[in-house]
């Protein structure tokens, strides 16, 4: 088998996540499509390529993205894609309903690029404005996604 072919084969690893409050059940997921690693990874900074709210993730692709989600859809996902990922690291998805932390998910990232997402299950009491802060382990905020859970 050629080395380039071998390089293209990667495994997906699930992200570890914490369930912090019962109102929003979060499902930790992780996935990373295989891609060639650049030679100067260590010198680069972790970069957020894409962050998007969606109803679900299928084949590492966000499905039904939007900014307002009906509670009847049952769940909502925060999909993030990082590139480059210089070294394995950890990021967090912090879910806030209004200004109250609802849940926080710990997600692992692996070189050279990684896509991952967190999800919460929706209940009637979850209606209202939400935001998800995507931060690293040092508290650096990559992005804040704002959306609403509606009828």
């Amino acid at each position: 088998m050629k080395p380039c072919v071998m390089l293209t084969v990667f495994c997906c690893i699930l992200c570890a996540a914490f369930m912090t409050i019962p109102s929003a059940q979060e499902q930790p997921q992780e996935a990373s499509p295989p891609s060639p690693a650049p030679s100067s990874d260590a010198a680069q900074k972790l970069g957020l390529k894409q962050a998007i709210m969606c109803e679900r993730v299928e084949n590492l692709t966000p499905v039904r993205p939007g900014l307002a989600f009906s509670v009847s859809s049952g769940q909502v996902c925060c999909f993030t894609s990082f590139e480059p990922v210089p070294q394995p690291t950890v990021i967090y998805h912090r879910w806030f309903r209004r200004d109250e932390l609802s849940t926080q998910t710990r997600l692992r990232l692996y070189s050279p690029k990684w896509s991952t997402y967190s999800v919460i299950q929706l209940r009637e009491t979850d209606k209202g404005p939400w935001r998800v802060e995507i931060i690293d382990q040092n508290g650096h905020v990559f992005d804040v996604l704002r959306f609403s859970i509606t009828d």
């Binding site: 998007i52 939007g66 900014l67 509606t150 009828d151």
Partner: protein
């Protein structure tokens, strides 16, 4: 003895001033209204009121209610019936005279001159009509008349009633030593029982005596007789002495020397002043010293002297429950605003401050005392006001049509400056708009709404707008998603 000293030490200077002021008011009422019918009725009403209080205190329910009704009705009637007297008593030249002066007891009316002139006119068969006003105002009873203001003298009287004089048919009004008006038309009596030989002059005299407390002297032109009309009656007068006595009595002229009269007046005033003081002291003690009633009130707590750089962030209670006691009259008359709890924050520091409510913090009207307060301790949290720029997020509500997706939202401006306590603002990271409904959205567009600050202690800085514009992009379910 000890109780007396304790009692005297509990009397404040304000209480003494209170009693003195009200005693003086009572004395002034007496001075202004003494001798009038209104005053007599007023005394009657006061007696009724006392009777009603006694009846109520011993449990005579029906009697106390009946007397209360009569007293209320009488109070209205006195104003209507005695309006002229009240007006005359209150008609003084200036405030000083109202507050300090004494109504002039006009003693200069030359009664002898008048009586001699009257009988001289009677001898000559010259008709005359002379009015001596009493306490009541004649304004509404008489008509016409010319202002004269001449000094009373036999010549003056004879010339006014001389038959060739144009005003000889009317009446004259004598106030003190002056003829104030001539040619005055008096109201005619409608009585049927007057003798037929009484002419218009006599009917006019009786008519005025029916409506007012004035004394009217009539000289008959036909028969040369002198009569006096007062209090509905017309009485013939035989000689000048009898007439003089009647006039003196009407004018309250004393039969004693002026010096003696002055002495008597002074004594009367001293007694009246003493009685006023006694009555008011009694009323005051009745009102303020009995402590037979207890009441519980919920009173809002007022926080004063807050340091300028702090804001009140939170208080453990907003109102206190005060249990007060005092006389039933004072307790019943308590009004909103008379009772208060005022906490001085001048020595408060940032963070939580605990205050014990003391007697000094409670505002009570005189005569009302504090029995108990709940809670006795309150917590006040102070914070330093600060400004923070916060992002604005749309609060979407409702539901989009199934085939539509809200794919992009832009809020203008993106942020708003908010002023509030630093500790409050620490917990706030986003400002939300008022709810915006999704149901009515069918295509992309924009909407203007206002921001809603929570908690309400926050406010938008003057430089920041309170309204924001939301531009939203709607797309079909299958169209490419945008962040």
């Amino acid at each position: 003895m000890t109780r007396l000293i304790a009692f005297l030490s509990s009397v404040r200077w304000q209480d003494i001033v209170d009693i003195l002021i009200n005693s003086y008011i009572l004395l002034r009422v007496y001075i202004l209204f003494q001798g009038t019918n209104a005053f007599r009725v007023l005394v009657g009403i006061t007696s009724l009121w006392i009777l009603q209080e006694v009846a109520a205190s011993i449990g005579l329910i029906l009697t106390s209610w009946a007397i209360r009704g009569i007293t209320a009705a009488a109070a209205i009637i006195i104003i209507v019936v005695f309006r002229n007297e009240i007006r005359t008593a209150l008609q003084v030249r200036n405030l000083k005279a109202f507050l300090w002066g004494f109504p002039n007891r006009e003693q200069t009316t030359p009664v002898d001159v008048i009586t001699e002139s009257v009988f001289q006119m009677a001898k000559r068969r010259t008709g005359a009509l002379i009015v001596f006003p009493g306490k009541e105002d004649l304004g509404e009873a008489i008509h016409g008349g010319l202002s004269w203001n001449g000094t009373v003298s036999p010549e003056m009287l004879l010339s006014i009633f001389w038959p060739q004089n144009p005003v000889h048919d009317g009446a004259i009004i004598i106030n003190g030593s002056r003829i104030t008006e001539v040619g005055v038309l008096l109201p005619l009596s409608q009585r049927q029982d007057l003798p037929s030989y009484y002419g218009t002059r006599h009917r006019a005299a009786v008519g005025l005596s029916e409506r007012t407390d004035a004394l009217v002297v009539v000289v008959s032109e036909e028969r040369g007789r002198v009569s006096i009309a007062k209090d509905y009656t017309l009485k013939p007068v035989i000689d000048s002495e009898e007439l003089a006595q009647a006039i003196r009595k009407h004018l309250n002229f004393p039969d004693i020397s002026p010096a003696r009269q002055h002495e008597r007046e002074r004594l009367k005033l001293v007694v009246a002043a003493g009685l006023s003081l006694l009555i008011m002291t009694g009323i005051w003690f009745g009102f303020t010293r009995s402590q037979d009633t207890i009441i519980a009130l919920n009173v809002p707590i007022e926080y004063v002297n807050r340091p300028a750089n702090y804001e009140i962030l939170d208080t453990s209670v907003d109102e206190a429950r005060l249990q007060l006691f005092g006389s039933s009259a004072l307790i019943k008359s308590l009004k909103q605003g008379q009772v208060g709890v005022r906490i001085d924050l001048s020595k408060a520091a940032e963070g939580r401050n605990t205050f014990t409510i003391t007697q000094d913090d409670i505002i009570l009207p005189p005569g009302v005392s504090l029995n108990k307060i709940q809670p006795a301790v309150i917590d006040v949290t102070l914070d330093i006001p600060t400004t923070r720029e916060l992002p604005i997020q749309v609060d979407w509500v409702g539901r989009l049509p199934e085939n539509m997706v809200l794919s992009s939202v832009t809020v203008t401006p993106e942020t708003v400056k908010v002023i509030g306590g630093s500790k409050t603002l620490e917990k706030v990271s986003t400002v939300y708009t008022a709810p915006v409904r999704l149901d009515s959205l069918t295509r992309s567009g924009s909407v203007t709404t206002q921001v809603v600050l929570s908690p309400p202690s926050l406010r938008v800085a003057s430089a920041s707008p309170e309204k924001v514009t939301i531009q939203y992009l709607l797309s079909e379910r299958n169209s490419p998603a945008k962040k």
